[in-house]
Amino acid sequence: MKKVLSLVLMLAMLLGMSTVFATEGPINIGCLQDISGPTSSLGNMVYGGVKWAVDEINAAGGVNGRMINVILYDTKGDVTEAINAYTRAVTSDGVSAIVGPPVANIGLAVAPESENNDVPILGFAIDKNCQLKPDGTPYKNMFAFQPAAHQQSAIMGEFAIKNGFTKFGVVYNEGNAYSVSLQAPFIETVTAGGAEVAQVVTYTKNDKDFRTLLQPILNADVEAVFIPNYTQELILIAQQIRSMGFEGALICGLDACPPFNTLFGEPADGIYFINNIDGTEPAIIDMVNNVKTATGIDATNKFFLGYDVANILKGIFEEVGTNPADVRDAVEKVTDYKGLTGNITIDPATHMPKGLEMVMFKYEGSTPIMLERYAAD
């Protein structure tokens, strides 16, 4: 009996040791993304950016001689899969940090779980509830590296008012945290700017035919429609509202960024959208060309978000080592990191970036045209 007990204890100790992060050998970072689910186009781009940065870092000798090893976890766009993968990353794989997904529903599910560990999650979910608890204090491990929903919506709202739109319709998915988090701040901003929101229409994930839902918006004779939705729904809504004769502006979130223009199937004139990057900048153009040549992939905004975060982690590993708790404390203090997506400073009170710039675009035909930069305050 004693022998059995001793064996069990030894096994437990060995297992326990294996979950502790390693101080030698490769540095493990997790990449928790939707690789095969409904938002896989976003997840694959983030992973592509992380991988590209890590390959660059390793080719240059790694971090103090240690290579970085990216462990990819496929959430399949599913909350349960995401939590299981997260648990595996922090308990079995000994990761020093996790690059999180740009998907609010996953972020919301993982946030409470993350409180039980010390591994920071550097994600891109723009719903502030992914970073902030109900009492307004931040989850200790949750960070966002792009402006929050209220900041993005405020930018889109300010842009709309500045460009003379005075009457709006809004259509959003009431079952999607991302969509919900964008609509209210937009309505607040344009209303505060003196404009009218004539119709707000909600739908659910099962809806595919939006024409009946969109009819009241058309009847209200609005000048612009705000559509903060994932790409597939956005394409359907944009196509159907155009097929109903609406020729006004469609103001969209990040989901209208390329490759929306190639997926849309028709000229996208009159569609305005917000983006993390300015595709006319030489550094961005260079990287897009290099990635295209090497992999055949057209790098989009999520690629650059992943790239910047991986490089931020490299700097932190060099500075404080790879202990997850130390990495987390350092992430909270990231200040003025000059990345391809802008100058990133994390606000310790919110775990979201301060003053990060975003860019408004419109399509002419299928070509995105850069219009104006805004700081997210």
Binding site: S36, Y203, K208, Q215, S243, M244, G245, L263, G265
Partner: protein, 290 residues
């Protein structure tokens, strides 16, 4: 005017449901089971149309042809691998149901292997909508309605007026007696699967045009099933009427109570309707075997 617009939207929606419901009903009519692989067959056919035709810049007609032919061929293959032996060995009809679910999973799996979870979009085949007396009618809706109507009229003619159609009706009424009368039952069932598959291909293209292509788009087959039940399982005219009613009911409910509650009320109305008239609008007392 508003009501008329909703009616147009409802008929447009119902015409696609009608194609699904008819293909579904056709197999139910002959083999007396609900073929749940029909939705995945629609998906597979629609993606074939995309990759072989539309994605290479071919127009609407070649895209439809490729999808219809794929649907027919794959349906025939499905009949052979999943249903033939159950039929010839008079195995428990429950296996029809199990086989159809398995076959559907196989079709969907093939699509996922090829496209992952990504969605695709057919090129825009149609121009701007028509504006008639303040009403907007999308060109796609008109063309989809016309093609659907033509396909269903052709099917009705074939069933009523041709030798093959008469054989189909005989087999659907009583397979054993039809066989004794000299009808080749296997060939007739194969024919039913070919037609059902072709309708699935057509419906798949239209769904893809309206709602984009994605691996789980076949789940909309539930609407076709509901339409078949409302119309009376096994009745082709009933399936069409049921589909139109369902389309109009859905758009009307969405306009009145919004998208969140509309599906709930649709199902409640359907249940109440079936309580009052269990055999549907035009159905006879056919008992589903599985």
């Amino acid at each position: 005017m508003q009501i008329l617009q909703y009616l147009i939207n409802g008929i447009a929606l119902g015409s696609v449901y009608a194609l699904i419901a008819t293909g579904f009903s056709l197999i139910f009519n002959v083999l007396k089971f609900s073929n749940f692989s029909h939705g995945a067959l629609m998906t597979l056919s629609a993606f074939s149309g995309y990759f072989i035709a539309a994605g290479n810049g071919w127009g609407l007609v070649p895209t439809i042809l490729v999808s219809v032919l794929t649907g027919a061929a794959v349906s025939l293959f499905g009949e052979f691998v999943a249903f033939r032996r159950i039929l010839t060995h008079n195995t428990s009809p429950v296996y029809f149901f199990v086989s159809s679910i398995t076959l559907g999973t196989l079709y969907e799996g093939i699509v996922v292997l090829k496209v992952g979870a990504n969605f695709y979009n057919y090129p825009r085949f149609f121009g701007k909508p028509y504006r008639i007396a303040g009403l907007f009618v999308a060109r796609s809706d008109i063309i989809i309605f016309c093609i659907s109507a033509a396909a269903l009229l052709l099917l009705a003619y074939m069933i009523r007026k041709t030798k093959t159609g008469r054989a189909l009706r005989s087999v659907s009424f009583d397979r054993d007696t039809a066989s004794l009368m000299g009808i080749n039952v296997t060939r007739t069932i194969q024919f039913a699967f070919i037609v059902s598959g072709a309708l699935a291909g057509l419906a798949g293209v239209f769904l893809g045009i309206n709602y984009t292509l994605y691996p789980t788009m076949g789940s909309i087959v539930v609407k076709g099933f509901i339409a078949s039940v409302i119309g009376g399982l096994g009745s082709l005219p009933g399936a069409i009427i049921g589909a139109m009613l369902l389309g109009i009911l859905e758009t009307t409910l969405i306009s009145i109570i919004g998208s969140g509650y509309a599906p709930v009320f649709t199902f409640v109305i359907m249940l109440v309707f079936l309580l009052v008239r269990p055999r549907g609008i035009a159905g006879s007392n056919i008992q589903e075997k599985a």
